[in-house]
């Protein structure tokens, strides 16, 4: 228990360190899944570990011990976790829970506002055009699913490029990328170490949509051109004021100008699976140890009170 309980934190760190490698080496679709599963598992397991640490400290509080019928001295004597560590874990856990609630609330709020807007405009077309000179293009998921593009963006592209742009946004809707992003954003809220995982997933999701667009238009340089032109258009005023410019576009363009990514997946998938297994086993071990600890304390309690 002494060591095993800290394995989930080490695993979460490993996931963060691996995130960049994964986002560059794996094909975008597999990379996104890897990051999502690893990120959520890391957040869940580190929270579970915190809960176990906190539980041993909380269990030593008199009212709780009275309810649970276990002996506080026995608990304290055999507890492998120092009380300050346990209490610290409790505070972190509470902060993580608060962060989770706040982040979930904000994300739902922003998404709901976007959807309300799309619902209020007649839904006769999958494309909603905003009469606006600054370039935007994004996909609104959910029941009122739409591709939203500004007229400024459309004007800066020719017919083939517009097609590539629409194919890219449709990919976001078809594969429900917003779910991956939400899951990882919440994971990062619970365990801030995981923010790079969220960032890496934002990149791989865009790459995934780029690859789908390239598949739809059968023209990789076209998609690269579309990215570049849209990015440059966004640098002109008044676009710059709206914080919509370009992240990773150079890397995305280079990926488009090269051949489709090779499927070099075995090592990283094996690593991910190993991490998952090790973390799971550690948590089981720690939980088992905690259970034995409390059982012993309950046994002492019953012995003391002559039962």
């Amino acid at each position: 228990m002494r060591i095993v309980i800290y394995v989930p934190f080490a695993a979460a760190l490993m996931v963060t360190l691996l995130a960049t490698v994964v986002s560059r080496r794996l094909p975008p679709r597999i990379a996104t899944w890897w990051l999502a599963v690893a990120g959520v598992a890391a957040a869940a397991s580190s929270s579970a570990a915190l809960a176990l640490l906190a539980f041993t400290a909380v269990g030593q509080l008199a009212p709780v011990a009275a309810e649970g019928h276990w002996s506080v001295p026995a608990l304290r004597a055999h507890d492998p976790v120092l009380t300050p560590v346990g209490l610290g874990a409790l505070m972190i856990l509470l902060a993580a829970a608060a962060a989770l609630c706040i982040t979930a609330w904000r994300r739902l709020g922003a998404l709901a506002a976007a959807r309300r807007l799309c619902r209020s405009v007649r839904p006769e077309s999958e494309l909603l055009v905003l009469d606006d000179p600054s370039p935007h293009a994004f996909a609104v998921p959910g029941a009122a699913r739409r591709v939203v593009v500004s007229s400024g963006m459309l004007r800066s592209l020719d017919g083939a490029e517009r097609r590539a742009l629409l194919a890219h946004e449709r990919s976001h809707l078809r594969h429900r990328h917003h779910l991956f992003l939400t899951a990882l954003r919440l994971a990062a809220a619970v365990n801030p170490l995981l923010h790079p995982v969220f960032g890496a997933a934002m990149f791989t999701i865009e790459r995934w949509a780029d690859e789908d667009a390239a598949e739809a238009v059968q023209d990789r340089p076209l998609v690269a051109r579309t990215l570049g032109k849209a990015a440059l258009a966004s640098l002109q005023p008044p676009a710059a004021a709206l914080a919509l410019a370009v992240q990773h576009v150079p890397r995305r363009m280079q990926a488009m100008l090269a051949a489709p990514p090779p499927r070099r997946t075995i090592v990283i998938l094996a690593l991910g699976t190993a991490l998952l297994l090790i973390t799971g086993l550690s948590l089981l071990e720690a939980a088992h140890d905690t259970e034995r600890l409390f059982e012993a304390a309950m046994h002492s309690y019953r012995a003391m009170h002559g039962q």
Partner: protein, 163 residues
């Protein structure tokens, strides 16, 4: 809500495209037309679904600085789309109130209907500005840039245009 496409026997491939689109895109009678173009993977553009074509036509109208005749829209869409398909789509968009048309010579010229769009734009700006997680809430095509990237972008764009 997933609607699987009812489709004439000739376009069996359409059945595999389970896109989650509003039912109204297929028109009141649920009709469906798929452009018969070469298969994907052959280096030529693949089939385009009805909803996709509608979006492309609408996009082409918005991108133009003046009303377009159907022939001009057809030119914008590139190879693999029949002229009659374009006119059908334009007529359908007009019926839905998404485009305006006026007489131009012996035919019509089409322009996008702008009314709701301006209102939508302003409201969308508010959504974007208010959201704390703008970068990720709506999977956006582009997000934060550093000025240093501009020259790199220019270079890459030149490369892409040379292909």
């Amino acid at each position: 809500m997933v609607t699987s496409r009812t489709c004439p026997a000739a376009c069996g491939r359409a059945r595999t495209h389970r896109m989650l689109l509003q039912p109204s895109i297929f028109g009141e009678h649920g009709e469906n037309f798929v452009v018969a173009t070469p298969e994907p993977g052959t280096g030529r553009p693949g089939r385009r679904m009805a909803g996709e074509l509608e979006a492309e036509v609408l996009a082409a109208l918005w991108a133009a600085s003046q009303p377009l005749a159907p022939a001009e829209v057809h030119a914008e869409l590139g190879a693999g789309v029949a002229y009659t398909t374009v006119t059908t789509i334009l007529h359908r968009l007009h019926r839905k109130g998404l485009v305006d048309r006026r007489r131009s010579g012996r035919g019509y010229a089409y322009a996008p209907a702008a009314d709701e769009a301006t209102h939508a734009a302003q409201a969308m700006h508010a959504v974007l500005r208010r959201g704390h997680d703008r970068a990720a809430v709506l999977a956006r095509f582009l997000s934060d840039l550093s000025p240093a990237d501009e020259r790199v972008l220019q270079d890459l764009l030149r490369q892409a245009e040379e292909r």
